[in-house]
Symmetry: C2
């Protein structure tokens, strides 16, 4: 029933996600979408698809009038931004999975969408298979959203789970994550919190209409968490999670940060282990909602890309309601956090400061 | 950005959900939707809204050309079906919360949607604030959905939680549920599983393209669960939940039922306590996804109705892809369930059967 747009796709990237998508599309003929051409960087590699599908010339996709959808799943943020810009200007709808590119170019991408009127969808860029952006757009499209907190980075959550639940030290846990493909060989982006704060940047746009610079959000990674902290957490019957959080303050502004936190056992986020992600949304009318699923990996990501492609058939666009139809919120740093400090060597601290520090030592970063 | 349809609403029903919706709409002016008229059964009651808003004449809403959306949140399934039928035939989009009406008239409602081409949305009818229908439509719109299991009835889940976790007996738990407004004064619909199987009926349509008669689905409620069963569950370190379940079998057919089950502590559904609902969707590419939220109550329900209204602005329709664009699945009873039997009086059973029964006594209804 109903008619919908025939989608002819130009795909940039044929890594794990791109190839995953190619396979998923082959198994979903009902979608009425086909990949006409795939642009890759390196022609040399062996690919699990017909050679005629591939090109290294991006203009073959971007200037093809038959192609009405560009799907971009490449690693290079600068190249991705160029592709998205040209595609939108050329009248094509775009689906992207590049969180870093989106976070760094958010304002420009918003303007491009307004200028061109085309769809730019990126559900897979945050929490992969969990439809968090779409639900923020559609289900909390009013001023009633109180707070959102989430685990948005699967690699760090995997590492923390191994440290806390299984007693591994940081290096062992990281190595295991890399062996299982949950962390990059250069893990700095994940471990030091850059990836999480990138995702948080545009989730704040959909949640509260804020268009922040990633640098303006307080964040820290898990690089300094040691087995001794796991011991403290266990004593307190708590876990440690890298939590992205945002909350409306009494003054109407929004506090937002990404920090490792102690998490109680009965907290929704305590349920989120290993490479999974989870999102808790609190609103005035629906109370707390919890979304949970795989936050990384080729097929979960491809599955989210597929849902964006599917939405293009009825010309779905993000409306950014909180940004355009409301008085958008502002970020505020006018908050107090209780911080837990741990250190190895008491001798480094002047004796006169020691008592105060000792008393404060086991305080946790509490929910604001 | 973007233009969208101005929505003028005719609302049927001003009980807890109807009034909740009225309040929610007042707090979301950005939605560009207004209630023009409310049809109620009984003019006598005091209402928290201007008297001029109300009528008892349904034709005032159904024949008003300005009204382009009918929202129906009344209790009477037969009256609701008549209203929905006329509204769709009169060219209006419809939002409904009446699970019983939808389950009992599913085939007719599908035909009406095809004949009229209008939208008929009912997200609030299953799991209230959890966007399960929309996500089944949009995120699992292909042949890759393996299984879905869920807690879809908040009243029974509340009662079971009190029995298992707090040692109340069935009658005490039911009374408490009624006092807190989680169960009807006539609780048969909830307690004996009718409400759950009604919801499961149309969730099967969105999940697998099956349009079952509610009578054709194997179901049982929680009316026969006693404190002694709670003791057995505790010994096994398990909970008891009323689980709605459907799974694709190797023969391509789908097994579906609603039955109380033992649930392991590490099962997603074990997390779902009291009046909450939860849905676990397993698919080939996204793996397991878990949705959790309030499954009942005026504001959670109103919040889901609001999201349907919001979706009408861009003329969203359920596509029923699995029904119309695929070979729809069929239900099958060709499955084996391991059943746990409990009884009070061993003397009622002939001695020669006793050994076998005793051995089988503590077997659980296992996931198929």
């Amino acid at each position: 029933m109903g008619t919908h747009k025939q989608l002819t796709i130009g795909l940039f990237g044929f890594g794990v996600v791109g190839e995953g998508l190619y396979k998923v599309l082959q198994q979903t003929p009902s979608l009425n979408a086909s990949i006409k051409k795939v642009c890759i960087k390196n022609f040399g590699k062996k690919r699990n698809a017909p050679a005629a599908l591939f090109t290294t010339d991006k203009d073959e996709l971007l200037n093809d009038r038959d192609i009405n959808v560009i799907v971009e799943v490449i690693d290079d943020a600068d190249a991705a931004f160029e592709i998205v810009t040209i595609a939108l200007r050329n009248g094509k709808d775009v689906v992207s999975a590049s969180k870093k590119m989106i976070a760094e170019n958010l304002q420009a991408l918003l303007e491009l969408q307004q200028q061109t009127g085309k769809s730019f969808l990126y559900e897979s860029a945050a929490c992969a298979s969990i439809p968090v952006i779409r639900n923020l757009e559609e289900y909390y499209d009013n001023d009633l959203l109180h707070s959102i907190k989430a685990i948005v980075n699967g690699s760090t959550n995997f590492i923390l789970t191994k440290i806390i639940d299984e007693g591994l030290d940081f290096k062992q846990a990281l190595l295991l994550a890399q062996q299982l493909g949950f962390a990059e060989s250069n893990p700095v982006l994940d471990v030091e919190g850059f990836d999480a704060v990138n995702k948080w940047t545009f989730l704040l746009t959909h949640a509260f209409g804020i268009v922040p610079n990633p640098n303006s959000i307080l964040f820290n990674g898990i690089q300094n968490i040691h087995s001794s902290d796991a011991t403290v957490a266990k004593e307190k019957k708590q876990g440690i999670k890298l939590v992205a959080q945002a909350k409306k303050l009494n003054n109407g502004k929004v506090a937002a940060f990404v920090l490792p936190q102690f998490v109680n056992q009965d907290d929704h986020l305590a349920f989120v282990k290993n490479e999974y992600n989870g999102v808790v949304i609190e609103s005035g009318f629906a109370d707390k909602q919890f979304f949970y699923g795989k936050g990384a990996g080729s097929f979960p990501t491809a599955s989210a890309v597929l849902s964006d492609i599917s939405a293009l058939r009825y010309e779905y666009k993000y409306e950014y309601k909180k940004l355009y139809h409301h008085q958008p919120h502002e970020l505020s740093n006018d908050i107090f956090l209780t911080v837990y400090v741990s250190f190895d060597d008491l001798a480094l601290i002047p004796k006169e400061n020691l008592n105060g520090l000792k008393n404060g030592m086991h305080k946790q970063i509490e929910n604001i």
